[in-house]
């Protein structure tokens, strides 16, 4: 009975089922506060972003920014829990004077927009990553289909949609998923532009937005530099386009530096903070404290991956890597950029990756797409290859 389903319908069925399972699994209990959590963060982050957005809607982002920096420094302790003042005080206590250094305002603006449309609930905050993930699944499918064909596009999108890490993070209040959406779109668009499948302006604006969406966008900068240089060499384009392309990473870093300067923290200090509090330096600090070794890091990482990505997608991705060792395929350069992005997120923020399970998310696009290409080849083995 099943065998009468034609291949094109089979692909559509796989995609439809995957998206349906994702929508139900990630959407189940989305509006129920404080019950489901990943690392315990969801309960915390949901409430936090809810209050920030509520405050922004009431007073505007500039006011909250000023409140954080200056206005509530001398507030009497008795007023700590008073309406409208707590946000600034609490944020200051948690983040010092640097709340917007830790949390860039762009993600918060998405939450504000969602609350303005849906209403004053935490569900509105969780709705942002939920929608961003759905959009990311669709973008992976559409952009890969135009470049590599139906089968790898369907399988990549389906594996991404059905990875437990995707589902758990799609309901975690924060700006990680909108950031990942833009990063993946930017990397896919670089690849499509090289093949002459999309216009220059969409690549430029998506890359800029991806770079500025959150701190993880900064990890895209080294990849942007390499991709821009590769495009300048391989694609025939006007010198103005070459210049604009090379300007993207400079504009991103420049805007970050200006932004940090406006908050009174030079870029150098921020990089120092990253090294000492989040990066390899921080891991070395734990190491010297209580017998922590790099093996602890690897052991916990392996646990996070097997629990949150699960064994099957990992095996499929591994299958693709083995295939690539035997002979190279056109998707190699695209998937390498995904892998480099995951590697940068994981190593530059090593301490955070050690503490947070959700960091496996940054590897998800690579694992899903590598698995997708492998399954696609598995299905078509016996016939000619994908190309």
């Amino acid at each position: 009975m099943i065998s009468i389903i034609p291949t094109s319908s089979l692909h559509r069925l796989v995609l439809f089922i995957s998206i349906a399972v994702f929508l139900i699994s990630a959407g189940w209990g989305l509006g129920e506060p404080w019950l489901i959590g990943n690392n315990g963060d969801e309960a915390y982050a949901g409430a936090q972003y809810h209050a920030i957005s509520r405050h922004m809607l009431t007073h505007g982002p500039i006011r909250l920014h000023l409140a954080q920096l200056r206005m509530y420094h001398d507030i009497p302790e008795n007023d700590l829990f008073a309406e409208g003042k707590f946000d600034g005080v609490w944020l200051r206590k948690r983040y010092g004077d640097q709340f917007w250094v830790s949390r860039l305002p762009f993600g918060a603006l998405l939450h504000v927009a969602s609350m303005a449309i849906i209403g004053d609930t935490e569900a509105a905050i969780r709705f942002v990553p939920y929608c961003a993930t759905l959009l990311l699944i669709i973008i992976i499918y559409l952009l890969l289909r135009g470049r590599f064909g139906e089968s790898p596009a369907v399988w990549s999108a389906s594996i991404f949609a059905l990875t437990p890490s995707t589902i758990l993070n799609a309901r975690l209040a924060g700006y990680e998923l909108p950031c990942l959406l833009l990063v993946v779109a930017a990397l896919l668009l670089y690849d499509r532009y090289r093949e002459g499948l999309c216009g220059f302006s969409i690549v430029w604006f998506t890359c800029l937005a991806a770079g500025l969406m959150g701190w993880f966008g900064l990890y895209l900068v080294p990849i942007m530099i390499i991709e821009s240089l590769r495009l300048c060499r391989s694609v025939d384009m006007h010198w103005r386009e070459r210049l604009l392309l090379l300007l993207i990473p400079i504009v991103v870093v420049g805007l970050y530096a200006l932004y940090l300067h406006s908050l009174g923290q030079p870029l150098g200090e921020r990089l120092d903070y990253f090294w000492n509090a989040r990066s390899v330096g921080a891991v070395q600090a734990i190491e010297s404290e209580d017998g922590f070794s790099f093996w602890h890091f690897l052991h916990r990482t392996q646990k996070y991956f097997t629990n949150h990505v699960t064994v099957l997608p990992l095996l499929l991705a591994f299958g693709w890597v083995v295939q690539m060792l035997r002979h190279r395929s056109p998707e190699l350069s695209l998937l390498l950029t995904f892998a480099v992005f995951g590697l940068l997120c994981y190593t530059v923020s090593m301490r955070a990756a050690y503490e947070h399970r959700y960091y496996v998310l940054w590897w998800s696009p690579f694992i899903a797409c590598a698995g997708g290409f492998f399954v696609s080849r598995l299905c078509s083995s016996g016939q000619k290859g994908l190309e």
Partner: protein, 125 residues
């Protein structure tokens, strides 16, 4: 049945199966904490508003104690604000895992698979 159909349904079935299992386990874990959550929601009913309130969080580890302490205060403020109170309570009860350092004045008042319910004094700073 064609090879493509067998592979498709095998892989899709395994992916869906493991995803549903993982998500269900996640919900199950959270459900284990439901009695405490219910307690939390009734916090204002079971405790005098000007003395203390039950709030919750889960999955803490020692490095996040200070961080979650603030989160607890944050919840507390929300509950109080929603109830129309603006006074500062004397203690907070927080649901936590077993790995947090228990302060001298903290007291475990409830525990189950989901974690421990600790009562700790509000830091007035």
């Amino acid at each position: 049945m064609k090879r493509i159909h067998i592979i498709t349904f095998l892989i899709l079935g395994c992916l869906i199966g493991s995803t549903i299992y993982k998500t269900a386990r996640h919900h199950q874990k959270a459900e284990a904490g439901r009695p405490v959550m219910e307690l939390m929601r009734k916090g204002n009913e079971v405790s005098k508003p000007d003395e203390g309130v039950v709030v919750s969080n889960s999955g803490l580890d020692s490095d996040w104690w200070e961080y979650e302490n603030h989160a607890a205060r944050f919840y507390l403020w929300r509950v109080f604000r929603d109830q129309g109170y603006d006074s500062s309570p004397e203690y907070i009860v927080v649901l936590t895992s077993d790995s947090v350092p228990v302060h001298q004045n903290d007291r475990v008042i409830f525990s189950n698979d989901a974690g421990y319910l600790l009562r700790f004094e509000v830091d007035q700073e």
